[in-house]
Structure formats: C-alpha cells, structure tokens
C-alpha cells in the first residue's frame, strides 16, 4: 500500500532559537510555516543537518509543538547530525521535509495516559494540545528519564494549563526512584480510553509487558511511537523495517516511516523488537 504523502512538502525555514533545557536536552524552534500548518500529533519532519554531504541523510524528529508558523523539536546532540543542529544560530536556514508518517489516533474522550521515556517526550505537547482542543481534560503524563536534569519540564507538556505529570528517574534524583513503567499501575486504575507511549523501543516493550502482566483491561486505544534508523523517511528506501504482527499473528516487517512511527501496540512484535541490536547513532 502506498503511503499518503499528500501533506508532506520540503521547505526552507529559519531557526529562531536552540534552547538548552539542561541535562543535554535541546529544544529547536524554527519558523516552518508549512509544517506548522499541517503537522498532526505523532508525525515527524526529516531535517537536514548542515549543508554538506556528511552527514548525508536527514534526521527524523517528532514535531513537538506548533504555534502560528513555528515548530518545536526536542532532541539531544548525540551524533554528527544532531551536533550540527545543536550549533544552529537564530536566523540560520533549516531545511525540513514533512510532515511525514502515521501519527496518533486522537481520542475525543478521556481519561488519557501519555507515557514518556527520555526524548520520548517529543510528540506529546502537540498531542496534548489536540486532545484539549477536542475537549479531553483528564490527561495524565508519566515522564521518566535517567536523572532529574534530563526530565522534559512538566510545564512544557502543555501550555497554559499544565496536565498532571508524574515523574520517575532511574537514579531517584526526582520523583519516583525507578522506571516510568512502575507508575503504570496507578494510571491504569483510571480506566483510560487511550494510552500513548513514546521512548526507546526497549522501554516501549517494557510498557507493553507491564500492561499485559498487570492483568488489567488494556485501553481501547493503545499506541506507541517507535524509532528506527531511516534512509528517506517517505517509504521508498525500505530501510526502516521493524518487526510487526499481521492479522494472523505472524511476524512481518513494517516501515517505521510510513506504517509508523505510531503503531498500535497490539500489532508490534515486541519480542522481535527486543532482539534487534542497539541503534547506531551517527
């Protein structure tokens, strides 16, 4: 099946600021009118990192939020591409191709639980904004990170009214001392209509395992935004295959870029995901 790319377009925008949030988290704000007008929650943009041929490929980033003609992206300088983005100055051009990918199915009634691990915070402000626009008010964010400075600030998940954010850190420097999955039990007791998760694939697998092991009824809408090394981002290179389950429960490859990045958690082959080697970040 051919992906619907009708919203995607390439545009050269302008960097407004690269803000240092602490702990290595960065928020890039850029004027990108097309992307701002067309991005849906969970979709992403392929951003060009520098003008040269190394790094060659664009890097995919969730559209974190939009406001008028600007967009925000949350990332960390971990490789050559993101380092170049981290060094951008106000006024620099930014080449974007997007919006791309299959986003979240946004529900019209709560309660809603958003589970974020590390940079998995990225798609949630845009999602929460859309949920609010649809009248959903009871939104609970579970936000986990390695340490306190790496927690995306609660105040940024939605403005002006901040949703309820419960935090967890691996080292106990803020909130619950442990993994974000430890907080799932209490969140499930509200019988959410939807649970959305984003974070490293291993963390997403842990979320699914925790949900299944809890024995609680799974939320009717249960979706995760996954990640994979990408070539093109628009379904032609076939490079970003991830193991999923077909209708018969057999493992098949699905493309992270066009079948995802948001997939129904029931349709993901979590065992297959768990067996993949770690990502190579350049």
């Amino acid at each position: 099946m051919t992906a619907d790319l009708s919203r995607a377009a390439r545009e050269t925008g302008e960097v407004l600021v690269v803000e240092r949030l602490g702990g290595g988290l960065l928020e890039l704000v850029a004027r990108l009118p097309h992307l701002a007008a067309t991005a849906l929650p969970g979709t992403f943009a392929q951003l060009r990192c520098g003008q040269g041929t190394t790094p060659l490929l664009r890097r995919p980033f969730s559209v974190a939020w939009t406001q008028d003609d600007t967009c925000g992206f949350v990332f960390e300088a971990v490789g050559a591409g993101t380092r170049l983005l981290s060094e951008l100055q106000p006024g620099d051009p930014l080449d974007s191709l997007g919006p791309l990918g299959h986003g979240f199915s946004v529900v019209d009634a709560g309660p809603v639980v958003c589970v974020s691990g590390g940079l998995g915070c990225a798609p949630f402000p845009l999602l929460i904004n859309e949920l609010r626009r649809r009248g959903v008010e009871d939104i609970f964010v579970l936000n986990g990170a390695r340490t306190a400075t790496r927690l995306y600030p609660a105040s940024r998940f939605a403005r002006p009214a901040v949703p309820v954010v419960a935090e967890a850190t691996d080292d106990g420097t803020r909130g619950h001392h442990g993994f974000v999955t430890d907080l799932l039990g209490q969140a499930l007791s509200s019988h959410p209509s939807a649970l959305y998760a984003c974070g490293p694939n291993a963390m997403l697998g842990a979320v699914m395992r925790t949900l299944v092991d809890s024995g609680a009824e799974l939320p009717p809408t249960l979706e995760a935004s996954l990640e994979a090394p990408m070539g093109c981002g628009f379904g032609t290179c076939l490079g970003c295959a991830l193991p999923a389950l077909d209708e018969a429960g057999s493992s098949v490859w699905r493309l992270c870029c066009t079948d995802g990045p948001v997939m129904a958690m029931r349709d993901v082959d979590w065992e297959g995901i768990g067996a993949l080697p770690g990502a190579d970040v350049a």
């Binding site: 041929t53 060659l56 070539g231 379904g235 076939l238 970003c240 295959a241 490859w253 190579d280």
Partner: protein, 287 residues
C-alpha cells in the same frame, strides 16, 4: 557529449527517454511515493525497485547505516513479486510520461526469464533492467561477476522480449569492461553502471557490524569518483548506450558521467536527501 545534454536519449528497441535523467532502482520504489512529492513526469525514466518472481520480505534490520558521504544498505530486495507488480502497480503507471523500466532480479536464468515473460504484454512497461549486481542477497552477484554467466542470462532474456534490455553492472568485479562486452555481445541494448559497492561499517561500541549480514551496498556521493572510473571503462568497451549512476547529487556530478561517455544518468541516494534532486539535475543540464 552531445550539444544538448538534456535532450531525448534512444536506448534502442523503441525505448526513447524524453531526457537523460532517471531515478535509480531501489531509491524510488515503484514511483508512487515520489509522484506525491515531485512532478515525476518531468523525469526521463523510473527504474523500479528490484522485482523477483515471488514476493520477498527483505533482510532483518537495521538495513541502513550512514557513512562518510554515503550510506550502506542491506534491504534484501523487499518487493511484492512480479505478479503483483504486473497486476496492481502497472495499471497505475498508465498515462505517465516518465518511462517506467522494471528492474528484475533472480537467482537463476529461469527466474529472470519468468519475470520478463510476465511483464512482456504490459504496455506500461517501457523496458527491463536486469539486476545482476545485488550485493545483499545470496547469489545476487553470481551473474554479475562472471562474463559467461552474464551473457547466458542476457541471451535467455533477449529470446523472450522485444523490449529494451538494460543490464545493471556490478562494480564489485575485477574487470567491469569484460562483463559489459559480454552482455553487449549477448544482445543487451544498453548497460547501466554501477550498482552499489560492497562495504561494511563497524559499531564501535560493540565491535560488531552495524548491518546484521556484515556487508551492505555503499551508495551516495562517496562513490561518485569510483563510479565515474567504472563508467569510463565501460564506455570505452562497448558501443551500446551506457547509463551512468553512482553518487550524483547535482547537475555537475551528473555531467561528469556524460563527459566520460554516458548517454544518460540515474539519480539514486540523493533522492532520499532531497526528492527534487533529479529535477534539479535536469534543470541544471538544460541551463
């Protein structure tokens, strides 16, 4: 090089490309994604994803890895199979101005012949590109490395089609000119050169290969000088048209291939970075 570097190109057997710029196999799917992103009908030719007798699921991930000025891929010829291409995709090419050339791959002469036979009655298929050079499947290079085997394959395909047959050559050989001469003698109408170079990247934290099968195929601007040397050697060896491919990112890097004797070019990996690259190359050649 002809005076009009952007004019029509006659590849033989009635296949005339409206202009010399094509989209390389494996970087444009079957055209349906790029058709949504660019004015695909301004491009001269679409060389489809490698297509096999039966559907192939492709290789386990990770399938791509970035390198200096390039990328390695190990997709493993994921495709829906030639019957699905004929029944479901070909009707969607009806009315397209871009010439659709179906790239086919196989593990035996019979598989290539079968694919060609299935495609033969379809009006929307303008030509066949024989992929004898895929580094990412078992036996993918068997035909590409042996001039005698390559010639036998081309002769067998030649016998079942009236269409233009282009042979995509592997650079992973000692003497690419020898393979080019062999396929010309066996009845190929044109050759395209080159497919990807075999390469490897190490995940330095673990010491293992990034790509699970070890090696992949290297593409992108890093290979342009290598591809240029190979294409120059092929152009000296044969009289049939040569289509240059490998690391083209703009009109200047495309023109290099025309200078060494290629009649047409294909834009590959650069399309991933900027889907409009082929159109920019075309406009640049016209300018």
């Amino acid at each position: 090089m002809s005076e009009n570097a952007s004019g029509a190109v006659d590849l033989g057997r009635g296949l005339i490309l409206p202009n010399p710029v094509g989209l390389a196999s494996g970087t444009a799917g079957y055209g349906f994604e790029l058709d949504q992103l660019i004015d695909i009908n301004r491009v001269g030719a679409l060389y489809t994803k490698g297509t096999t007798v039966r559907a192939r699921e492709g290789n386990p991930p990770p399938r791509v890895a970035e390198t200096g000025g390039g990328m390695l891929n190990s997709i493993g010829l994921q495709n829906p199979g030639v019957d699905a291409v004929a029944a479901e995709y070909a009707p969607r090419w009806k009315g397209w101005a871009i010439q659709v050339i179906v790239n086919i791959a196989g593990g035996s002469v019979e598989e290539y012949v079968h694919c060609t036979t299935v495609l033969e009655p379809i009006d929307e298929v303008a030509g066949i590109e024989l992929n004898i050079s895929c580094p990412n499947i078992a036996r993918g290079l068997d035909f590409g490395r042996d001039p005698v085997a390559a010639a036998r394959l081309v002769a067998a395909v030649r016998a079942v089609t009236e269409r233009c047959v282009i042979v995509k050559l592997s650079p992973n050989v000692t003497d690419i000119a020898a393979v080019a001469r062999a396929v010309e003698d066996a009845g190929a109408d044109a050759v395209s050169a080159v497919n990807t170079y075999i390469g490897r990247k190490i995940h330095r934290a673990s010491g293992r290969s990034v790509l699970p099968l070890g090696n992949g195929g290297l593409s992108g601007p890093a290979i342009q000088p290598l591809a240029l040397a190979a294409v120059a050697a092929v152009c000296e060896a044969v009289d049939i048209p040569v289509i240059g491919v490998g690391g083209i990112v703009d009109a200047a890097s495309a023109r290099d291939f025309l200078i060494v004797g290629a009649s047409a070019v294909q834009v590959g990996t650069a399309t991933f970075v900027n889907p409009e690259t082929a159109l920019q190359v075309l406009d640049g050649l016209r300018g």
